[in-house]
């Protein structure tokens, strides 16, 4: 293997960056789970809050997408 150490570091970094996606997965699950538990307590109010659910999920998910982007940049652009 004649690959240089920079390339190795980039690949290891890409793998490490993927761990951020796990954190974002926890966040999205937290949002959806809390919404569901609230919705089951008061189903009448749930329909009006689905927009908030999606906004919350989008914000939590954006950070996971950022780490995915970092991984992609390390794999293909650096």
């Amino acid at each position: 293997m004649e690959g240089d150490i920079v390339q190795m570091g980039a690949y290891i970094g890409a793998g490490l960056a993927c761990m951020g996606m796990g954190g974002s997965a926890i966040g999205v699950g937290n949002v959806a789970g809390n919404f569901l538990s609230g919705a089951l307590r008061n189903p009448a109010a749930a329909a009006g809050q689905t927009a908030m659910l999606f906004i919350g999920i989008a914000f939590a998910e954006a950070l996971g997408i950022f780490s995915f982007l970092v991984a992609l940049l390390l794999m293909f652009a650096v």
């Binding site: 927009a51 999606f54 906004i55 989008a58 998910e61 954006a62 995915f68 982007l69 992609l72 293909f76």
Partner: protein, 251 residues
């Protein structure tokens, strides 16, 4: 970014990033700003599809709607309700812009799901233009409507005085990150989903796991249909949220 994918590594028959290559349609290999590429083609197709759906759908105006008319009416009512719920009556004026954004993004996402199609929304260049349009439009609108009072968005009067500069800094940063996250969310989701499908499709070349691979591709495809719609919905709803901030800056 995705166009820089390198195809050197072996193993996979088709590289998962190859589908995002921008190529000129009519020969040649240099891409200038006027070159007609596959991105141009699929964006034009998305516009044509939206126009066909809405124009043909609303041309008959039957009491008992046809299928196309019901889809058009559903889309209209969906976006209208979303905008009105979030921004209130004042935001309804900006309905055409929001509707245009939603229809274009949802149609580009769905067209990208066709086999051999090109997903235009998977390129940050495309989504960044959409997000920057929203960002600049909303900022200009805020200053036109409220003048210097628009800066009250960053100076939160409910907070204690000592905290306000810190909060202003945080609000300022989060305001300027908006177009970045707004565009990367859409592009990242679309690119990730399509790359995963291609990775599973690459496994189909190995005979032992090919049935599993077909099942996995089918399942991922179903998920992608859902994601395509949800991401268009999220893109639009965040546009509405930013619009609300411009219309009512004092929280």
């Amino acid at each position: 970014m995705a166009t820089e994918a390198q195809g050197e590594e072996g193993g996979l028959v088709l590289h998962p990033m190859d589908q995002f290559k921008v190529e000129p349609l009519f020969g040649g290999d240099t891409v200038a700003w006027y070159t007609i590429t596959n991105v141009t083609l699929w964006m034009a197709l998305a516009v044509v599809a939206v126009a066909a759906l809405l124009v043909l759908g609303s041309s008959r105006r039957a009491i008992v709607p046809t299928r196309m008319q019901s889809v058009g009416e559903l889309a209209y009512g969906f976006v209208y309700k979303m905008l009105e719920d979030i921004t209130g009556k004042e935001g309804v004026k900006y309905f055409p812009y929001v509707m245009t954004l939603f229809m274009f993004v949802v149609m580009a996402n769905f067209l990208g799901l066709l086999p051999m199609a090109f997903t235009t929304t998977s390129h940050i260049a495309v989504t960044a233009v959409l997000a920057l349009g929203v960002f600049l439009g909303v900022t200009v609108l805020g200053f036109v409507l409220h003048g210097a009072k628009f800066l009250g968005l960053f100076w939160i009067t409910e907070a204690p005085l000592i905290l306000r500069p810190v909060l202003a800094l945080i609000e300022l940063i989060s305001y300027f990150v908006r177009p970045v996250s707004h565009s990367i969310r859409l592009a990242g989701n679309m690119m990730a989903g399509h790359a995963v499908i291609k990775v599973f499709a690459g496994f189909a070349a190995i005979a032992a796991v090919s049935p599993l691979s077909v099942v996995a591709v089918t399942a991922m495809y179903g998920l992608e249909v859902l994601v395509s719609f949800i991401q268009a919905y999220v893109f639009t709803i965040l546009t509405c949220v930013y619009l609300r901030d411009a219309l009512h800056p004092s929280h």
